[in-house]
């Protein structure tokens, strides 16, 4: 019995150290709000950081022990994608973050594995950093659903997808620089609670309908937050595919045939939705994830999975560790 968490973020210590006493980390700064909460200042964006975001690896492992989580597949905090800043900044912060993850994995190889972050606004630099970290033993990288508004099936990203496929990297999709709901409202936390799920469905459609999945048949993709609205809304996407004009990138199979080409984390919050996801994509495609350490995190995630009545024991084991053990060779 193990549990491996594909969705666990790291706000690197190098950021905390560099921004101590008003300093900056490659132009990123930090301040406290009136209630003493830490706020990261990234360009013109402000990102609130919970107390756990500052925890050392030792404190993190203590928390993992209390939650019954054996392994964190670490990914950098998505507020530090930095795609909208100068490429030089994103290159520098990516290298720092990834180097820190590499050190954690080296120090505690039984507790941590690594997903890097990449300067996606500069595709060549992103490929170079991906190749560097894969040689250092990373399992892949986490990227946003869009790069400064551009979806990932745009032709300029194809070399990146080829490089990811060739290196065997797992690419985890996770929002960072705003979701589509931000264009409509900033109320009620909807840019997160609806926007994340919408953007994940957009990413699925973009990669499938835009021909990336056909161009790179061995590509390994994980869509966080259960792939968002993808599996529930797939019927309408199939219908849209039928109406698309013929083009060199239009897939021959309907999008629903690609559902089991992707991986999905289990962060859907209700048993009914998790059961639906499993039934749509297959139990071998659903991965344990928690969103540690943010407020949308799964409470007591391992015991939640174990207690679900509509999942078989084998399904629970596949989700908690077997799928990730195999996928990431852990």
């Amino acid at each position: 019995m193990r549990s491996i968490d594909i969705h666990a973020h790291l706000t690197p210590q190098c950021f905390w150290r560099a921004t101590e006493n008003g300093g900056d980390w490659h132009s990123l700064r930090r301040e406290q709000d009136s209630r003493g909460r830490e706020i990261a200042l990234v360009g013109d964006r402000r990102g609130g950081l919970p107390p756990k975001a500052r925890w050392t690896p030792e404190e993190r492992m203590t928390d993992m022990d209390s939650l019954g989580v054996d392994v964190h597949v670490l990914s950098p905090y998505s507020g530090f994608y930095n795609y909208g800043l100068d490429a030089a900044v994103a290159i520098a912060t990516s290298r720092d973050s990834n180097d820190e993850i590499a050190q954690m994995v080296k120090s505690w190889p039984d507790r941590f594995a690594g997903l890097g972050t990449l300067p996606m606004q500069d595709v060549k630099a992103a490929i170079a950093e991906l190749e560097r970290i894969m040689q250092a033993g990373f399992k892949g990288a986490m990227i946003d659903d869009h790069v400064n508004g551009k979806l990932l099936d745009e032709a300029e990203f194809l070399p990146f997808w080829k490089a990811a496929e060739q290196s065997g990297a797992l690419i985890l999709f996770h929002q960072g620089d705003g979701t589509i709901v931000d264009f409509r409202t900033d109320r009620y936390h909807l840019p997160n609670t609806i926007g994340n799920l919408a953007d994940r469905a957009v990413t699925f459609c973009s990669l499938v309908l835009g021909g990336v999945m056909d161009a790179c048949p061995d590509l390994k993709i994980c869509l966080s937050h259960g792939g968002g609205y993808t599996c529930y809304g797939i019927g309408r996407v199939d219908r849209g595919w039928r109406g698309l004009p013929d083009s060199p990138t239009k897939p021959e199979q309907p999008p629903s045939a690609y559902l089991n080409r992707f991986y999905y984390d289990c962060i859907v919050y209700t048993e009914e939705s998790l059961r639906y996801l499993i039934d749509q994509v297959g139990a071998d495609r659903v991965l344990f994830g928690t969103d540690w350490p943010y407020d949308m995190v799964f409470d007591w995630p391992v015991s939640w999975i174990l207690a679900l009545e509509s999942l078989s024991q084998e399904e629970k084991e596949l989700i908690l560790w077997k799928n990730l053990e195999k996928l990431l060779d852990l």
């Binding site: 109320r187 609806i194 199939d238 849209g240 859907v268």
Partner: protein
Amino acid sequence: MRSIDIHAHTFTRSMFTTLDSGQDWYGMHYEGEGQQSLFIKEGKRVGINPKLRFTPEERIEDMDRLGTEVQVVSLHTQVFGYHLDAAAGLAQAREVNDDIAEFVQEAPQRFAGMATLPVQDVGAAITELDRSVNTLGLKGAELDTVVNGRNWDEPEFLPLFQAAESMGAVLFFHPQPQHNIMLERTNRLALPNCVGVPLEDTLLVATLIFGGVLEKCPDLKVCVAHGGGPACFGLGRLDRGWQVRSEARVNISKPPSAYMRRLYYDTVVMSETALRFLIDSVGIDRVVLGSDYPFVPWDPSPAGWVQGLESLTQEEKDRILWKNLEELLGL
């Protein structure tokens, strides 16, 4: 066996009379060859499905072929006039609603009607809803999911909801099929229709819930097109957001899931598994037949598709096909 379809689009007779004479209809005019395409406003052009021109007789013939007993007809949202100045918006709504009422009166056993409202002027919209329901005999109104970029939780719209509630009018929400929120990201890959439409539906559900509209108007009758999009599937995340974020709790005292069963949802969800999930989430008394006429080629027909579903009981099918709407609309 009865069947009542809440989601049936139409254009209107006066619209074509005006356009066919070569005049503008509230700023819209034909473009290109053969009167098949319409310029609506800057950046918005739409094709005209020939069935949207049907006379009542032609439509009944098509409904007989499809086995649909009653259609609740409403103006296709693409020609909604929310962007017009208030006077033109009111004139368009009055003309459309007169036409829809006349259309229904041609065959009152086969049609019911929904009004369109000039919501850029809330006072005028309330007056027109009252006229539509109490003078013209329409069942309520069809509304877009957004008003010129403004959401329905803005306080200015509350009097409209309160008026609809006191009249017992049904509000049927339907987004723009192409010109919706997805255009902020892309218009490629059919994404506005594939993902943008159900996203608009879900945002509408969330807006009515989190905005406190349903809390303030407990007897408001609302139906959302396309099964409310994936709102029911993503409900756990909305509840989690309500638990951990104070800004999600400003208007509502209960988690969003507690309000989901207050709305009605149509069957345009495009798969049996999704429909079963919707029913299990919101309750069988809240799901009603919709066809998206004339745009979705149902196999073999809207009612026939529901009848053929293996995971529904006959009582569930009866509720969806007619019982719920008979009750809701008083048909």
